[in-house]
Subunit: 569 residues, 2 copies
């Protein structure tokens, strides 16, 4: 491509509303333009990168045996009512009525639609397994769109859905997709990590996220140093140690006027936070004997709301009791609650269960208990994994110690099980003619987000640094004084033509810009390989070559072969 | 592709709700599935055709120098308010509010959005001309979606927008795009015709539509037999002959009780329809001295509402007067109106102006006039081209006679002029540093519609007949008894592998189906070339080859080269 015919809209200023580097660079380099909150237009140079990522995703999905389809972006509300998700999805799902006042939504995902189609066309076990994918625009009406493409409202997503006769075959395809994802993330040049994940409202059992590691990432990952365990902090398990010291202190009520937080009580009574047990009061699931239920946590731990929401006795989605509800049930303020003589049932997190002689609220204003012990002062409680993992914890698989990293979720693989096939009455006949409800998997990649995520990892003060596989152009040819020197013009045109003929996507900066401005643009847009041609270098039959990643340029013979040699790395 | 891994969802039944052949065949052959009214999912085999058409469009747009971008499907209502179209677009534009109660719409087109971006990034004449295009999903909330992809609600469209310093450069690009369109429509294998068109509410002056000729087409085209003129009937001009006979009859009022229509009056008074002048009463444009205005047409002609709407004295959009309004203005019913002693101003269509001694309503119930003449009995009226063209008319360019054809609009090129650049305050600086309002062009192709339109032209009783360039596969290899004969299996696998290696997209029917069923499927999905391999043909070292278009199969040598020879045609 000749840059004289290819508009580069680069700027030196960093846009004031762009908070993260990928967003800043994509605006500065003219890759994208903002149309509205969370809405971006891809300009020609940016679209080249998006298309390359899209093609890599397509190639790997095809290679893995998935079949491409294209579903509408607009979906009938009826199908979401069938699956039961119409009332569960929040404001992020954009809903509207068409001119005939029927309910529709802009697809945030397509489990319902693909299940609807499979219900029509797939009737026999002979037609399974099958895995359909599409690369299609999605919309999520984020409350606060931010970070450019990272958390936009409209975005390009690859979503795949597989159907199976049994859980074993689902598991096989799950790992097949997982392998395909590893190939995709490797090919786009990302440093990534597959981590155990929570399935959210998509449903299902096993799921993993593919995270691009970057400090700007919105997700916190728990990774075992010295081990292989890795999980989104949301989903990271905390195992019991199975140890608890015997009770040694006597139970004693002490006055703690105005000391409501664990920190305050810890200092006031001079006990470590690890010796304190706090009680959170939350709404109980329907059908439980009490409307409220207590969760006991160690003083230094935080509740993991995802785990709490999944506990069968806890209301889902998770909801804290109000101070008024606490007052009515306990007769005291929330700062003085504890599991001893507790008026509601208590579930103890494993770590809270393993503390002896603990301090806790006395369920009476301005008072706490010291020397409290499970079993002796209160019934041995039901226990569960309810806390958030912390750095320094032992890895749940026993190997290594947990350290936190930040990640950008670029992909997600799920074993959905029968959630949608059951809700939408999808059955197929097995070998014996029996109707079977198929197992489902689903597999997503945020294609447009992946572009930004790779960029978060791959940039420097000069701008973008694209991996060869997804660069807008692999090579940029920069002639010095092309308008004055016939020799420079001829050499640049020849190299440009030869590289393109060799299948190397190449840009020729024929805009007549000065060297400094040419080089700054080439760096900003992140072209991996730069070849400078001037009268001076041609005098010694040389080109100046510079890798975008290298500190310095070097002289190479003035030949196509010498440039190709550099591209081979 | 092995058909055992590629689900064909073919059926023998013609779906009851599919009215036209392309819609029937695409459902029967499993190319698309209906998700809701005007919403279709592309299944794997159909998507292959859509992608091929999309790629041809992309290649030709790139070749023509246009630059690909990708704009969001969701657009802020603000921009449509800026251009003035928010209130003009009807229910076909899907509007909604986001969670923050701001106005948005699903893009039916993108003049506003591209003008918004160009206003930000283009400041100098040096950056023009430029032509941006995208291939992106559009939505139009049709009142009655029908004919499958032909008039769906969600569809894939290529839309391009060019910007120019002056009208001359716009004209140059318009013809550049027109040439690109001719290449696109030729490459996809369509029999098409470029015709003069009305610009509708997109605005602008010169515009042409590209129509695929088919009896199921919704548009009527006026084409000059023996000439080159072609226009959408909506836009076809009718030129005056400049001749009118002298008045020879005396004006006479006759009683015509109950004779209200032209047909009735013509029979009752025994005069041909061509000797009758009728008067339509419509609302006048704002600022006209009368609220109503009369349009005189020859008795055998119909009003062209598009022409009427564009007349400066007529209200736009065109609106007929009600019987009450006519009664108030004329003191009689609508069946007895005429241009003689008319209480409101009259514009005569050229053909009505050229009748002498005509019959018309007397502006009095149950009475008509005979022997009426312009000039003598009424002032010579203002004349204009207001009627619909009819078959048998002379071509407006004087060469040939008009005949009607039906067409499916597949593309449209417009010279928009300054409509959007002016409304949205887009200016760029010219060589002298003066702010200039750029000229705009816009150019659309209905990519998904084009698939259906080609199919309307290209099918037979057996099913689809795809042109090679957009066929889902070019060749299908059908082995007979592959499970029983090692020789057949080996020959089929080898030919399949060799063809794919030669870059020929080939399907292998390895489903183990019986020959009749295999051939029926191959015909239905319209693969242009079929090669049958069986023990019988292999015994004489032959393959059976059949072109999808041919009546009969023929024997060819059992070699790759012989098959390639057939593909070369």
């Amino acid at each position: 491509m000749r840059l004289s015919r290819f508009p580069l809209a680069t700027t030196k200023e960093t846009p004031s509303d762009a908070e993260i580097i990928s967003h800043q660079l994509m605006l500065r380099a003219g890759f994208i333009r903002k149309l509205g909150a969370g809405l971006y237009t891809w300009l020609p140079i940016g679209l080249r990168v998006l298309k390359k990522v899209e093609n890599i995703v397509r190639e790997e999905m095809d290679r893995a045996g998935a079949l491409e389809v294209l579903m509408p972006t607009i979906q009938p509300g009826e199908l979401w009512k069938e699956s039961g998700r119409w009332d569960v999805m929040g404001y992020e799902m954009l809903r509207f009525k068409d001119r005939h006042k029927n309910d529709f939504c802009y697809a945030p995902t397509a489990e319902e639609v693909i299940t609807f189609h499979v219900r029509q066309d797939i009737r026999s076990y002979r037609q399974l397994p099958i895995n359909y994918y599409q690369i299609q625009t999605k919309f999520r009406d984020e409350r606060r769109p931010r970070f450019g493409l990272m958390r936009g409202r409209e975005f390009l997503m690859k979503d795949a859905y597989s159907f199976h006769m049994d859980a074993e075959d689902l598991s096989r395809e799950y790992y097949n997709m997982r392998e395909a994802y590893i190939r995709v993330f490797t090919r786009v040049g990302a440093a990534f990590r597959a981590v155990k994940a929570d399935s959210g409202n998509i449903g299902g059992a096993l799921s993993e996220e593919f995270h691009i590691l970057a400090n700007s990432g919105e997700d916190l990952l728990a990774v075992a140093e010295g081990g292989t365990y890795a999980a989104n902090v949301e989903a990271a398990e905390c195992k019991p140690t199975g140890k608890r010291a015997a009770a040694s202190a006597a139970l004693e009520k002490v006055s703690t006027p105005g000391q409501k937080t664990c920190d305050q009580v810890s200092k006031f009574l001079n006990v470590p936070l690890t010796g304190k047990v706090k009680l959170l009061v939350v709404h109980a699931a329907e059908g439980q004997p009490h409307a409220l239920i207590g969760i006991a946590l160690r003083g230094d731990h935080q509740l993991n709301e995802v785990k709490a929401s999944k506990h069968p006795k806890v209301k889902s989605p998770f909801k804290m009791a109000t101070p008024e509800e606490v007052q009515a049930a306990f007769g005291c303020e929330t700062g003085y609650l504890g599991p001893i003589k507790c008026p509601i049932p208590v579930i103890a997190d494993h770590a809270a269960f393993e503390v002896a002689d603990f301090v806790c609220g006395a369920n009476e204003n301005d008072h706490h208990l010291k020397g409290a012990n499970w079993g002796r002062d209160a019934e041995e409680p039901e226990t569960a994994d309810l806390r958030a993992i912390v750095e320094g914890d032992a890895s749940p698989d026993g190997v290594g110690v947990i350290k936190f990293y930040r990640g950008i979720e670029g992909g997600h693989v799920f074993q959905l099980g029968k959630k949608y096939s059951k809700a939408m009455n999808l059955t197929v006949l097995d070998e014996k003619g029996q109707a079977v409800t198929p197992e489902m998997g689903c597999y997503g990649i945020g294609v447009s987000r992946l572009v930004a995520a790779v960029l978060e990892q791959s940039n420097d003060a000069g701008g973008m640094i694209w991996p060869d596989a997804i660069a807008p152009f692999r090579v940029i040819v920069c002639p010095i004084g092309m308008d004055k020197s016939e020799a420079v013009k001829a050499a640049a045109e020849k190299l440009y033509a030869d590289l393109n003929a060799a299948g190397i996507e190449t840009a020729l900066d024929d805009r007549g810009a000065r060297p400094g401005s040419m080089f700054a643009d080439a760096d900003l847009i992140g072209i991996p390989h730069r070849v400078v041609i001037g009268d001076k270098s041609l005098a010694t039959a040389q080109f100046e070559y510079k890798s975008r990643k290298a500190e310095k340029a070097e002289m190479i013979p003035a030949s196509l072969e010498a440039v190709l040699e550099k591209l081979r790395g």
